[in-house]
């Protein structure tokens, strides 16, 4: 088969899976008064369409910030505005000020799901395809297999097309940034990542690697001369992008402050719900939430976050290659997709864990079926395609002359999978004991957290002890 047809088949499979998942329920379906993220997105369309820009982030009679107030940067708001315009054309009742709260209908659900699909097709899919074609190694078959695995990553599909969000947009913009930087189009990369930052402030996690990568490149080209010029150009690009995105808010410092206040709600505690991070897990043993004061919690969180990504970023500064860049990025879950080609087993493993970590949320949204099917499909596909890259995977369990380390890793992988399956099953089927109502979500969180920690250590290890032979053949810019 021709390459273009293989790529088309992958794209179509990815789109089919997404749309089939969209048949399922969304967050907060039929649950007044607050509903869920779906209602939040619809509400933002209502707010941005009906109110002037100056009121979007402020608490007014028309804009009750307590009811899903805007807490993403301006680009999300503009996206909602665009969707709001389209919604008004189709059915004005969808975005009527105040009266459209809690609006639910089959046609509306179709509209909302279509907006996600549209954004995916426009931005995310091209980014993934370009990334796989130009920035990954191997035969064209391997690139296509990588693309397919990335496109079928369940976590993103379930959250975007099930729970309902637009994560694919920010991820796609970041990916465009990576593609840009990887291909040597530094300004495009900087532009794309700035846009990503202006879409979701969570991308700040990735900003340090981006910053160090670009700075490292500039230093490499000599800080006096071409390097400086590059630095100036990049800075200008970033500044202009930010200025354009924040244009309506620049006139009044109060506006800027309010937006920042909404983006970084330091009033909220260290964690909400049960999340698979350090604090939630630590809280099980030491009641951090009550022990430390609010400000101390904040400082500690900030310091440790910075500390966790500092080593990789410093290494990146000294050695700005694409491989180092990818390793540095992988402190967050979703970019683990990027490792699909080079470290397929790890990528598949950790992407499964990241999907699994969202199980309590997915169960609440009624996404049991898509979760099971997409996770199983991703696991099967990953292992099947892997087994063609590592010869005779099936023989690993029969032959005895494979390296002991590989054996051990597969053993751990299998144990981890069994544990995930077991926990999933019990979460779905059993009732938790009355004394510990949150038993299963907490177990899921702690389990996932331990894996994430291991992943962080593993990738840092890979980065710091980089063996000279294989990795030096990665693309350098």
């Amino acid at each position: 088969m021709e390459n273009w047809s293989l790529v088309s088949v992958c794209v179509l499979l990815g789109l089919t899976t997404r749309w089939a998942v969209s048949f399922s329920s969304y967050s907060g379906a039929g649950k007044p008064p607050m509903f869920g993220d779906y209602e939040a997105q619809r509400h933002w369309q209502e707010v941005t369409y009906n109110l002037p820009v100056q009121e979007w982030y402020f608490n007014t009679t028309d804009n009750d910030l307590g009811y899903w107030g805007l807490d993403y940067p301006p680009l999300t708001a503009y996206h909602s505005l665009l969707c709001g315009h389209v919604a008004k054309l189709i059915n004005p009742a969808w975005v009527e000020l105040r009266t459209s709260r809690g609006f639910e209908s089959a046609a509306h659900k179709l509209f909302m799901r279509t907006t996600v699909l549209f954004a995916d097709i426009l931005i995310y899919f091209p980014a993934v395809i370009l990334y796989c074609i130009y920035l990954s190694d191997g035969s064209s078959k391997r690139k296509v297999a990588t693309a397919l695995c990335i496109l079928l990553y369940p976590g993103l599909i379930l959250i975007d097309y099930g729970h309902f969000q637009y994560n694919s947009v920010s991820l796609a913009l970041t990916l465009w940034g990576i593609v840009g930087l990887g291909l040597g189009w530094n300004l495009l990369g900087a532009l794309a990542f700035s846009l990503a930052l202006n879409y979701k402030q969570m991308e700040l996690y990735h900003s340090l690697p981006f910053f160090c990568f670009l700075l490292g490149k500039c230093i490499k080209q000599g800080l006096m001369g071409r390097g400086l010029l590059l630095l100036v150009k990049i800075s200008l690009t970033v500044l202009v992008t930010f200025a354009l995105c924040w244009w309506p808010f620049l006139s009044d410092p109060q506006q800027i402050l309010q937006v920042l206040h909404r983006l970084f709600p330091v009033d909220r505690g260290l964690f909400e719900d049960k999340v698979a991070n350090t604090w939630c897990s630590l809280n099980v043993l030491i009641k951090i939430k009550t022990l430390l004061s609010r400000d101390t919690q904040l400082l500690l969180s900030f310091a440790l976050t910075l500390l966790s990504i500092l080593p990789s970023s410093i290494k990146l500064l000294t050695k700005p290659t694409l491989w180092q860049f990818k390793l540095a990025l992988v402190s967050d879950e979703k970019p683990v997709c990027l490792m699909m080609n080079e470290l397929p087993l790890m990528a598949v493993w950790f992407l499964l864990i990241s999907t699994f970590s969202m199980l309590p949320l997915l169960l609440k949204d009624g996404l049991l079926l898509p979760y099971t099917v997409t996770s199983l499909a991703f696991l099967y596909l990953g292992v099947y395609l892997l087994s063609h890259q590592i010869p005779c995977l099936t023989d690993v369990f029969f032959c005895s002359n494979r390296k002991g380390a590989l054996h051990l890793v597969f053993l751990q992988f299998t144990v981890s999978l069994v544990a995930m399956a077991g926990l999933s099953f019990t979460s779905m089927v059993l009732e938790p004991p009355a004394r510990l109502p949150d038993l299963f979500p907490v177990l899921v969180s702690v389990f996932s957290f331990l894996h994430f920690l291991a992943m962080l250590l593993y990738f840092n290890l890979v980065q710091l002890t980089e063996p000279s032979s294989k990795k030096s053949q990665k693309k350098t810019n």
């Binding site: 499979l13 899976t17 048949f23 089959a106 079926l369 099917v373 997409t374 199983l376 087994s387």
Partner: protein
């Protein structure tokens, strides 16, 4: 050792799992009234004694499949009771609780295992491709074309039917004939006829083939019939198999004196020439010609408008279509037309059989002929021609060409089955998936001998794109949507009828001009 065998078929398992995952994701998609039909049959077979099965009419969806399918539903109903007992109550019309949907959908996915097994057997009959990479192997292409067949996916797993299971039996029977296990093949086909009698469409092919190639054990030197090699033993064996199968199936009803009732349920000829949505066959073209002529006649004042019934001028697609200008068509006429259309092909394999492949080709022609000329044909019946043709498509360039045209138009003609907005992206995406794959892989397979389709054929197929855009996107936004809502269906069915007819003609030409596999006297 088991490991190489597993590795050899791992791609097949991957294909099967992959399509099964998609089927699972479609669990919550739209389902048609066929869902209620099967739920009703579950209830009827479970709750009522056998003597009542073909008399029960609480629901409008009475049992109209042969007894073996009723027993199949009976078997399923014993599993159904663990999901939701309420679905087995006959009075619970249109009962569709989540557990019911889950059970019914899973039952289709599960019974598809028969289809998967049959596909594997068919792949084993493909010729060996040594040295080609996986994606270029004809067995891989065949497996994908069958397992991921668009028509089967949307008819079975969205619209809701059990065609996978039934076509599995059909393809298994074909595979057995390829493997020269003719008695098994005959048994499977006899069972299939008692599961769904629509397969009578291809019974002539089976009958003549088995008579010619199984009962007569040898051919003359020039490939013609050697009358002396008739084997009465084989004929008796065949007869016993077929008769005993029918006896087991219809026996209980004959004993109870219910045979006439069963037959009347199975063959309800009171329905019209065409289904409410015209299947893309000859009669669709006939209807449109009739309508066009009548409009022309009225305009040219050759005909008196008062003679026509009101409905025929402005009415939509009605079951009882009154022909105004051209002569009306009765069931007998359709039967005669069908027989006439398949007779040359059947004669051809009698005179010069081409082994199992010739039989398969004749089978496809019988299916297509019955589709084109039959009475009250359902557009889903096109699958009976497309699926077996896949086997021929991976082996011969001409057949690949015909397959591409038939499958694309045939699949497109199934679009009106899924008319909901939510399923629109799914049907377009899956159609694109199948079409791109089939075109790309078959072109690559026969790349050595030039392009597969000529420009006229390509233009015709590309014309499906604007047709779809007009029918599903543009037309609903116009004012005609309310006054003449049937126009998109009419356009679809007429446009596709041309493609189906063209494929039929091409297939016939390939049969009539095929060189016979003569040589020495062959013994079968």
């Amino acid at each position: 050792m088991a490991a190489p065998m597993i590795a050899e078929w791992s791609w097949f398992v991957a294909l099967a799992f992959g399509v099964s995952f998609i089927k699972c994701l479609l669990l919550n998609a739209y389902h048609s009234t066929d869902f209620e039909v099967h739920r009703n049959w579950l209830a009827v077979t479970h709750s009522l004694p056998v003597s009542q099965w073909y008399y029960e009419s609480t629901s409008e969806w009475t049992l109209d499949y042969p007894p073996f399918f009723a027993w199949f539903e009976y078997g399923l109903s014993h599993v159904a009771k663990y999901f939701d007992k309420e679905m087995l109550v006959v009075q619970n019309l249109n009962y569709a609780s989540p557990a019911t949907v889950l059970f019914q959908r899973l039952s289709v996915i599960f019974t598809d295992l028969v289809f998967i097994y049959a596909v594997k057997e068919c792949c084993k009959c493909c010729r060996e491709d040594k040295g080609k990479d996986l994606l270029g192997k004809s067995s891989f292409i065949l497996a994908t074309l069958l397992l991921w067949n668009f028509g089967l996916l949307i008819v079975d797993h969205i619209h809701f039917q059990y065609n996978g299971f039934l076509f599995g039996v059909l393809l298994l029977s074909v595979a057995r004939h390829f493997q020269k296990r003719h008695l098994e093949g005959a048994l499977l086909f006899a069972v299939l006829l008692n599961l769904k009698h629509i397969y009578l469409y291809v019974a002539p092919a089976y009958g003549i083939f088995l008579l010619r190639c199984f009962c007569f054990t040898q051919n003359n030197a020039d490939g013609s019939l050697q009358w002396r090699s008739f084997s009465p033993l084989r004929l008796v064996a065949l007869g016993l198999i077929v008769l005993s199968t029918f006896a087991v199936s219809f026996g209980p009803f004959i004993v109870k004196g219910q045979l006439q009732q069963v037959i009347s349920r199975l063959f309800p000829f009171k329905r019209g020439l065409c289904h409410a949505y015209w299947a893309p066959n000859i009669w669709a073209l006939y209807n449109i010609a009739d309508k066009a002529l009548s409009i022309l006649g009225v305009k040219l004042k050759l005909l008196d408008m008062s003679k026509f019934s009101k409905a025929s001028m402005t009415g939509g697609l009605v079951q009882e279509f009154q022909h105004s200008v051209l002569p009306s068509v009765s069931p007998l006429i359709t039967l005669i037309c069908t027989l006439l259309s398949i007779l040359p092909a059947v004669f051809s394999i009698w005179r010069r059989p081409n082994g199992a492949r010739g039989f398969l080709r004749c089978m496809v022609i019988c299916a297509l002929g019955s589709f084109l000329f039959g009475w009250h044909v359902h557009e889903k019946a096109i699958l009976m021609a497309i699926l077996p043709l896949s086997l021929l498509a991976v082996e011969s360039k001409e057949d690949a060409r015909t397959f591409l045209i038939l499958s694309t138009t045939g699949h497109f003609s199934l679009f009106p089955l899924l008319f909901t907005a939510q399923e629109l992206p799914i049907k377009i995406l899956l159609m694109l998936l199948f079409t791109i794959f089939s075109f790309s892989s078959l072109t690559k397979l026969f790349s050595k001998s030039g392009p597969l389709l000529n420009s006229v054929e390509v233009a015709y197929l590309l014309g499906l794109v604007p047709l779809e855009l007009i029918c599903e996107f543009v037309y609903p936004l116009t004012s005609w949507q309310h006054t003449l809502p049937f126009i998109p269906l009419l356009l679809t069915s007429v446009y596709c009828a041309l493609g189906v007819l063209y494929s039929f003609i091409r297939l016939y030409l390939s049969v009539l001009t095929a060189p016979s596999t003569t040589g020495k006297a062959k013994s079968q």
